[in-house]
């Protein structure tokens, strides 16, 4: 059995989302396979962020279906998607500066102490969270060791690292990275790209939304090209050059039949 024949981890068929007269998603297909980094690229206004929102539960499509491990899912909110094991890392460093790393990793999912201290007094199990966070930090090499360090003392790349660690800790099925390097410098972007690779190598597939072609070509196994609200092509970065991919994105180049049908 080849990879292409296996059930995709996350799949969408014929997604449509209308905002009044505006059609943000116009019958889009999507397919993420196990163990891959799939880059999603598209011009501004191509509707790729609407597509990603539909996959992460941030918007509910009007038509079409989403399948997780082959089974249909209906996300009403990002919480639904998270509970299903889909985590998203956002470009704007979605961490709380004044809280420490452990608190940020567990933000919104805090662990409480067992017994009456937790149930009646709602007391946090800070130690358990610290230890687990330290484990996650050690697993992904982001150059921070102490989970009690306040996030505001970290560099931009390290802050994004904390967001990635959080996603990796809870994203059992899929991790979506929405322009994770947009707010970062060159060196720090490199660290995040490295983290993406680490996560894939641990077995979790990653969806990478990026404008940065060199990054996309560096790390992506396949590239989903989004145009006019739908999937225009899926290409193999080894077979296409950056300028060809940009031409596909703008419509200057027609995809091959295979690419248009969902790629290699």
């Amino acid at each position: 059995m080849t990879t292409a024949e296996r059930t995709p981890v996350l799949q969408a068929r014929g997604l449509v989302k209308n905002y009044g007269q505006v059609r943000a998603i116009a019958g889009a297909d999507f397919e993420l396979r196990a163990g891959e980094v799939l880059a999603v690229i598209g011009d501004n206004g191509a509707g790729k962020s609407s597509l990603i929102k539909a996959l992460s539960g941030a918007l509910v499509p009007n038509e079409g279906e989403i399948l997780l491990d082959g089974a249909p899912v209906h996300f009403r909110s990002t919480l639904d998607a998270r509970n299903a094991g889909i985590e998203t890392v956002y470009q704007d460093l979605a961490v709380i500066p004044a809280l420490d790393i452990a608190a940020n990793v567990y933000l919104g999912r805090e662990l409480r102490k067992p017994g009456i201290l937790g149930s009646v007094f709602r007391q946090l199990d800070r130690r358990a969270m610290r230890e687990a966070a330290a484990g996650h930090l050690a697993e992904l090499k982001i150059g921070i060791t102490s989970p009690t360090q306040a996030v505001e003392t970290l560099s931009g790349g390290q802050r994004q690292g904390v967001a990635v660690v959080r996603a990796a800790a809870f994203g059992k099925k899929v991790i979506i990275m929405d322009e994770p390097t947009a707010a970062l410098g060159v060196r720090e972007s490199g660290q995040v790209i490295d983290l993406i690779r680490q996560i894939r190598d641990r077995g979790t597939p990653v969806i990478l939304i990026s404008h940065d072609m060199p990054h996309v070509f560096e790390v992506a196994d396949r590239i989903h090209v989004h145009r006019l609200g739908r999937r225009a092509a899926v290409v193999d970065p080894k077979q296409r050059s950056m300028s060809e991919v940009v031409a596909l994105m703008t419509g200057a180049l027609e995809p091959t039949g295979e690419e248009a049908a969902g790629g290699p």
């Binding site: 919480l79 979605a94 709380i96 809280l99 709602r122 007391q123 946090l124």
Partner: protein
């Protein structure tokens, strides 16, 4: 002390306010022999009590990057309701006063979270409304309350020969509860998160509206407790009392190192901040400095505290 420990101490947010409190105490101790007497220290605590309790509520709200300009007026309305309703039945009076204060907090919270109005405007409007409503309800009169449950928090006791009141005990309990919630529960973390970065907080699955509504509701409860404590200290409900309470609570919070921009600070700092203001006012009175100069000193302190906060924030960025 090693250099590292000292550096950590400098970064400790409580260090500044505590140092200021100690310096103020030492200066007044040197300047006047009356300052460091048991009686005077007890007096400072009594004078700081109502503002100190209200400042807990102000801290919670400011931590979410909000502000409550109506809390002093709410507390005053609370005292008048207590005095008027409790004339017939003290328990009913307490229930009604608590209900009125909580209702005011709930309306503030609803306007801030549902209509997304700026807290400054909402609570400024609420301050005006509540202050006027209090005057109307009180008929611009003061009400003396009889000894009993309403003045219970004025009951004195002696700890190692040091005169204290039940009201101070209540103050400590309010601070302890707020500290516990902020530092040991998920709710507390969400308060910091919502104030520090509301978008990130909501992306992390925190119900930001619920958190913000909660602090305004808590503000109402705390205002009612402060009203009760106020009658314990002075058993008269006066619609003209605590005119500067709103600003005094903000002063205590800011001097205590909590950032007006939200997400950063502690209630322990606020307690120290309230004591600094209390010590300053008391000490300056003892050395014979006019009340108006005390206001000037407090104003300078507030501006200095906010300036320090801004500078340290810029350094972090």
């Amino acid at each position: 002390m090693s250099a590292l420990t000292f550096q950590r101490l400098l970064r400790e947010p409580l260090a500044g306010p505590l140092a200021a409190l100690v310096v103020a105490c030492v200066v007044f101790f040197i300047l006047t022999p009356q300052f460091a007497t048991g009686y005077n220290i007890s007096l400072i605590l009594q004078q700081s009590m109502v503002i100190g309790i209200l400042a807990v509520a102000q801290s919670l709200i400011i931590l979410t990057a909000g502000i409550d300009l109506s809390i002093g007026a709410t507390c005053v309305l609370g005292t008048v309701v207590l005095a008027k309703v409790a004339g017939t039945d003290p328990v009913l009076g307490m229930v009604v006063a608590l209900g009125v204060c909580v209702l005011i907090g709930a309306v503030n919270g609803a306007l801030v979270t549902v209509l997304k109005l700026p807290p400054f405007i909402v609570t400024l409007g609420m301050f005006t409304i509540v202050a006027a409503a209090t005057q109307l309800y009180a008929g611009s009169q003061t009400y003396r309350v009889a000894d009993g449950p309403l003045t219970a928090l004025g009951t004195g006791f002696s700890l190692f020969g040091f005169p204290l009141t039940l009201g101070l005990l209540v103050l400590l309990i309010v601070y302890a509860v707020a500290w516990y919630v902020l530092n040991r529960t998920a709710t507390g973390r969400h308060v910091y998160a919502v104030g520090g970065n509301p978008v990130s907080a909501s992306l992390a699955g925190i119900k930001t509206s619920k958190t913000i509504f909660g602090v305004y509701l808590a503000s109402g409860v705390i205002a009612a407790i402060a009203a009760w404590a106020a009658l314990g200290r002075i058993p008269t409900a006066d619609p003209n009392a605590f005119q500067t309470a709103n600003l005094d609570t903000i002063t205590a919070v800011v001097i205590g190192g909590t950032s007006l921009f939200g997400g950063r600070g502690s209630v322990l700092g606020t307690l120290v901040g309230a004591l600094i203001v209390g010590v300053l006012r008391n000490g300056l009175t003892l050395v014979g400095i006019d009340n108006l100069y005390q206001n000037i000193a407090t104003g300078v302190l507030v501006i200095a505290a906010v300036a320090l906060d801004q500078i340290s924030r810029r350094r972090l960025q």
